[in-house]
Symmetry: C2
Subunit: 317 residues, 2 copies
């Protein structure tokens, strides 16, 4: 039996799985990354997890036909190096491919940024299936994603393409975590929704959002909870989300002219609340031929980050 | 001898040429489009021009191995139809490929939007040569361009990709000709430079720009002429141009992660005046790995619209 090993490396958790070429996950292990303990321990535990998965599945090393890693970037994917990342604090020039290849020889080991990996997963096994020009957008803490262009993953010159969250939609906008002003992420991420809610509450707006948060800091999920109860501030913030995300998607449609866009990430769970506003923004702004061919829907493969990472191992360019 | 026929169709002029596969233009004829007289007369004169070129070059129809047309869009390039265009007022669903094929049978006839065609020309025969991920930006009346991704022209789902001029960089910005607000084109085009100059002059700013314009409406070229004389308002407007175009290019670098960007169009003739400001904006904002691999320079093939159109006839996807 041929299997592919998928590693979805994140700032908080890492997910390691064994999958088939058809995108079926046979087994997987999720565990904390412990970023602060450094990359060596994380890679060591990745290896342990791979051996554990092999045992669980009664397979041998030789059954693994390749390993794919999705990681926060920027990366040097040619050399298999994680250069550094805001989400992997303290990690610098981590030669992850080389380290893994010490244990797992004679198989391709591929490294790609997590947005690109997830895009590939959603394209091959999810909502993107069958389209030739496809965009995946994930909206959670940040805004990220990737693009398939004429059937191929857009990597860019050094695998750092499609940093959509950090495209500017308002040169006079609020400061983003990246240091720039008016990034899409500063408007349309879950983090931004939380920030906007906190600002409005500080201004004295009445709302049950604070009740939903309790002793926790107000976040996007509390806004959605309050919206379920009909809270007017919450509904207003969610409408804004639809508008801002609509602007971001309009820009993407103008540049990429895709046949399909799928939206994943935590905030997409509330898509029903802001889909209409988002689509109204996009429809009002877009060139007719561009929007006529473009379907926009919720992502349908929650584990696209994992299966996309695994697919890197056999995806031919 | 094998030649390719190139048609660069514009709202004011059309340029028809015969070229080699190496991008050498053997002969060409430039003439007014006379948009208001309708598409039939224009296509008739295109055909006449092709016969004239054949005669000039002592060639026969059989020597033409293909025809490529670059046209303002939106188009249906599969079906060879110009759907409509702001620059070809009154033209609707023009079956240009079908019309040309009545005279020129048994050869490929390809239609692509003008930005994409020019990009292909600059990529194959100009500054883009040798790069795998390349972006061409033209800054004149509008802002347009195209992208080469991993060696292939990005067309999008229906050849309307890379509408960079109409991506939003300021959701609260000035109204653009397209009806949206805060498009890059409303900030960084030659038209925008003229508008900004006129606004500043109306505010009573002292400047020799009006003298340069004389009885004509103030345009970007007058701003550049005044700048040559050290006019402070002109220099200020040109610095702004560098800043705005820098924002637009930053967004493109974040999304496309190209190895090279070349800038053409009328405004690029003044690139020396704003290159530093533009690069400062881009360098301050961009991810290091993205900007490190990206060279930005003036386009070096002024006729890229023509040779790119011709290349459509043999460019294999």
């Amino acid at each position: 039996m041929n299997v592919y090993c998928a590693i979805d490396l994140g700032g908080t958790k890492m997910n390691i799985g064994m999958m088939t070429r058809e995108g079926k996950v046979l087994e997987h292990i999720k565990m904390p990354t412990f970023v602060e303990k450094g990359p060596e321990q994380a890679i060591k535990r990745m290896k342990d997890a791979i051996y554990e998965l092999l045992e669980k599945l009664s397979l041998k090393k030789e059954n693994i036909k390749g390993i794919g890693i999705g990681s926060p970037g920027p990366l040097d994917s040619e050399k298999g190096i994680i250069i550094r990342s805001a989400n992997l604090k303290g990690w610098k020039n981590v030669e992850i491919v080389k380290s893994l290849s010490e244990d797992f020889k004679d198989m391709p080991i591929k490294l790609e940024n997590d947005g690109n990996a997830a895009t590939l997963g959603e394209y091959l096994f999810g909502a993107g299936k069958g389209s030739k020009n496809f965009v995946y957008i994930t909206v959670s803490t940040g805004v990220g994603g990737g693009a398939i262009i004429d059937g191929k993953l857009q990597k860019g010159g050094n695998s750092n393409a499609f940093e959509v969250g950090h495209t500017i939609i308002d040169i006079n906008g609020p400061k983003c975590n990246c240091g720039n002003y008016g990034c899409l992420e500063a408007y349309a991420s879950g983090t931004a929704m939380g920030r906007i809610a906190r600002e409005k509450l500080l201004e004295g707006r009445e709302s049950i959002i604070s009740k939903m948060a309790g002793e926790n800091i107000v976040r996007a999920e509390h806004v959605f909870e309050a919206a379920k109860e009909g809270d007017s501030l919450a509904l207003e913030i969610i409408q804004k989300e639809g508008y801002y995300l609509g602007i971001g998607l309009y820009n993407i449609i103008a540049l990429y002219n895709p046949e399909k866009i799928s939206i994943g990430g935590g905030v997409s769970n509330g898509l029903d609340y802001f889909y209409e506003r988002m689509m109204k923004t996009i429809n009002n702004m877009s060139l007719k031929p561009n929007i006529e061919i473009c379907k926009i829907e919720k992502a349908n493969r929650e584990d696209c980050g994992l299966v996309g990472a695994g697919a890197l191992a056999f995806y031919s360019e």
